[in-house]
């Protein structure tokens, strides 16, 4: 249904894509459904005199193809329920995809066993949204940081591990002398630094950050964003950065992927996206950022309700709220097409109506 025409024709989507050394992570035809119906007893329904088994799914991701190039910061933006966090969690192997493939540095990783995945675990790490839940409340900071290091480097002696912990703590701006403290003794911003330190402790090359600053105060957001940028420059990191905040995207991203209801609508370099947003949804999203300056254009008002991912609309997922929707949009699912250096999935754009 969704042609993965980024690098290859559709029929090759299931085979391993030819590995391009500049691509670190590639996602092919990713789909994820969550079963809503509970166990099999709860699935039984009695209707019209017959006992039937009914299953309902949340369609969180509906065919996403995405490549993350080495050294870039790819931001995935979208509103709540668009599946952006599910993409992050699927990439990290926290949930397994219903369909599709995930390749890391040329190797397919989505079917690997927990044991076979271990070498990849230290190359890809994750930073979480909630600094109050992402650190184990019963562990001291030293233990939180030591555990991954000793686990992935069993040969290191105690002194080496200590050195590594100190190094990684100072690199995120936490005084190593505080290592004997517990997470609750730190402020939100400091906890997020420790969370970043934990991810950096195993020297990864790829970091998935799932809304890492949305739980933080404005002045602290800047500190954490700067820290992430510094770490990227110092260690040559690649980021997959999930956020709903377009102002952050404009600042942090090199490339932006806009998602709506589990589907990619637009994929473009940052400057292109912010100067010439092409997809009607991207345009609405950009116009809705609360700007400080006066004299900004009034936000594009979208009509209609956001559909639930349980009953996906037919055709283009955005047609219910799109001012340019036609009959074709209600039937055909648009494919990503290239326009300049952007890739957009929109019939109106393709037909030149936009």
């Amino acid at each position: 249904m969704i042609p993965s025409e980024i690098t290859q024709p559709t029929d090759q989507a299931t085979t391993s894509p030819r590995h391009d050394p500049s691509t670190l992570l590639s996602i092919r035809g990713l789909r994820k459904r969550f079963n809503l119906s509970g166990n099999w007893l709860e699935q039984l329904h009695f209707s019209k005199g017959r006992l039937t088994r009914r299953q309902e799914y949340v369609h969180a991701i509906n065919g996403v193809d995405l490549d993350v190039a080495r050294g870039e910061a790819l931001c995935v933006v979208g509103e709540s329920g668009c599946g952006k966090s599910t993409v992050a969690r699927t990439v990290m192997g926290l949930i397994s995809p219903s369909e599709g493939e995930i390749h890391f540095d040329g190797t397919r990783i989505d079917q690997l066993s927990a044991h076979a995945l271990l070498p990849w675990r230290r190359r890809m790490q994750m930073i979480f949204q909630n600094p109050y839940a992402s650190l184990n409340p019963r562990m001291t900071i030293n233990r939180i940081l030591e555990e991954p290091i000793t686990f992935h480097n069993p040969s290191l002696n105690r002194g080496d591990v200590q050195d590594k912990v100190q190094e990684v703590m100072s690199s995120v701006g936490i005084d190593p002398e505080w290592g004997g403290r517990f997470a609750h003794e730190f402020s939100g911003g400091q906890r997020q630094r420790i969370s970043i330190a934990r991810a950096l402790a195993v020297d990864p090359e790829f970091i998935v950050a799932d809304e890492p600053i949305s739980a933080l105060d404005v002045s602290i957001q800047a500190q954490v964003l700067n820290l992430m940028r510094d770490a990227q420059q110092a260690r040559g990191l690649t980021y997959l950065f999930i956020t709903h905040d377009l102002a952050v995207v404009e600042h942090f991203a090199t490339r932006v992927a806009v998602m709506y209801l589990g589907t990619l609508c637009e994929l473009a370099p940052r400057d292109t996206l912010f100067s010439t947003p092409r997809h009607p949804y991207t345009q609405a999203l950009l116009s809705a950022i609360p700007r400080l300056s006066d004299g900004h254009p009034t936000p594009i008002r979208l009509t209609g309700e956001v559909p639930t991912p349980v009953n996906l609309p037919s055709g283009c997922v955005f047609h219910g709220r799109c001012p340019y929707a036609t009959a074709r949009c209600r039937e055909d699912i648009p494919a990503l097409k290239t326009y300049g250096d952007a890739r957009v999935a929109c019939h109106a754009l393709e037909e030149g109506r936009l």
Binding site: D217, A222, P290, R291, L292, T298, P299
Partner: protein, 330 residues
């Protein structure tokens, strides 16, 4: 006379037998139909300020001093019964989470009618008509049907519209909105903010908007208070504060926003974090994080000085103004 006048409000929270000060004597007032923004980071005391106006501070907290006057009534000297009449009727409140206001087991119609009948002597039929009018006012599609729906059948944006309709039910003079759009998506947030602004103008309702988002404040409000560690540190017309902030904290807060930076560059960060309530530094509470701090800032609490339309509590600004004045007189 101002609609709402708050003088020297002092709110404390007791914890393990000791009281910490959440609001350390704040003064502000609000005119009829005015839209006022209160901004600050978490721990600044902005929500406490809003909650204390209706005496909704929960148990370990209490109002230790100060005067809250609303339309001639001294709210903090009222009995709970008198206060209940003001609440909802003259002052309505909108929370961040709509489900704090909505009862999940009652239909929206039932809740709106109950609310009306509690404050007005009217029939169910009349109450239903008023509820419908208000739903139309907040531009909800097919309002008739909504009255028979339960809160969980609606999306987040729709719920927040319902909350606004409920807030408007009794034609209040003041709406206090505590982070009303923080839980919403940007596109929905833009709609709700536009709606709230429009309704305040057409219905002549004053709005007190509590938020951490300077973008929202800049789009909705006319006047802004900036709070830090339980005090107001800067207040004045919103545009002046956004375009020409005087206090180093306000400047830092605005500079730290990603939209103020050149894309791809480092953001201008304020070092450190807001102090916790039981550990507020003496003098100006911002002094440990302030690049302009002098010895005086660690000793003396700054008082408001006026510059243009804004009032700023900062020794540095005061000194600068004094120098300018001296220069002018020479």
């Amino acid at each position: 006379m101002a609609l709402l006048d708050v003088r020297q409000l002092d709110v404390r929270f007791s914890s393990r037998g000791k009281a910490v000060q959440a609001l350390r004597g704040i003064d502000f007032s609000l005119e009829r139909g005015e839209r006022l923004g209160i901004v600050g980071e978490s721990g600044a005391g902005k929500s406490v300020a809003a909650f204390s106006i209706l005496n909704l501070i929960a148990h370990p907290g209490f109002i230790a001093g100060g005067e809250i006057t609303f339309d001639g009534h001294h709210l903090n000297r009222m009995s709970e019964r008198q206060l209940r009449k003001i609440r909802g009727d003259r002052i309505a409140m909108i929370f961040q989470d709509p489900m704090m206001t909505l009862n999940p087991v009652l239909t929206l119609g039932a809740q709106m009618i109950e609310c009306l009948k509690a404050h007005r002597r009217i029939s169910t039929r009349e109450a239903r008509q008023i509820a419908l009018d208000k739903l139309n006012l907040v531009q909800i599609p097919s309002p008739e049907r909504r009255l028979d729906q339960y809160p969980h059948e609606l999306s987040g944006g729709m719920r927040q519209r319902i909350i606004i309709a409920i807030a408007l039910l009794l034609d209040p003079d003041l709406i206090i909105a505590d982070e009303p759009t923080t839980a919403l998506d940007v596109t929905i947030q833009a709609e709700i903010m536009a709606l709230l602004t429009e309704l305040c103008d057409t219905q002549n309702v004053a709005l007190m908007l509590i938020t951490h988002d300077l973008g929202v404040v800049s789009q909705v409000t006319r006047r802004t208070l900036v709070m830090y560690a339980g005090r107001i540190i800067e207040q004045g017309p919103t545009r002046e504060i956004i375009n020409d902030p005087q206090h180093p904290y306000t400047q830092g807060l605005l500079d730290a926003l990603p939209q103020m930076a050149t894309p791809g560059e480092r953001l201008n960060q304020i070092p450190g974090a807001m102090p916790s309530l039981n550990n507020i530094p003496p003098g100006c509470a911002f002094n440990p994080r302030c690049t302009f701090a002098t010895e005086r800032c660690t000793r003396e609490v700054p008082h408001f000085v006026s510059t243009g339309g804004t009032q700023v509590a900062c020794h540095m600004v005061e000194a600068m103004l004094a120098k300018e004045k001296a220069h002018d007189t020479v």
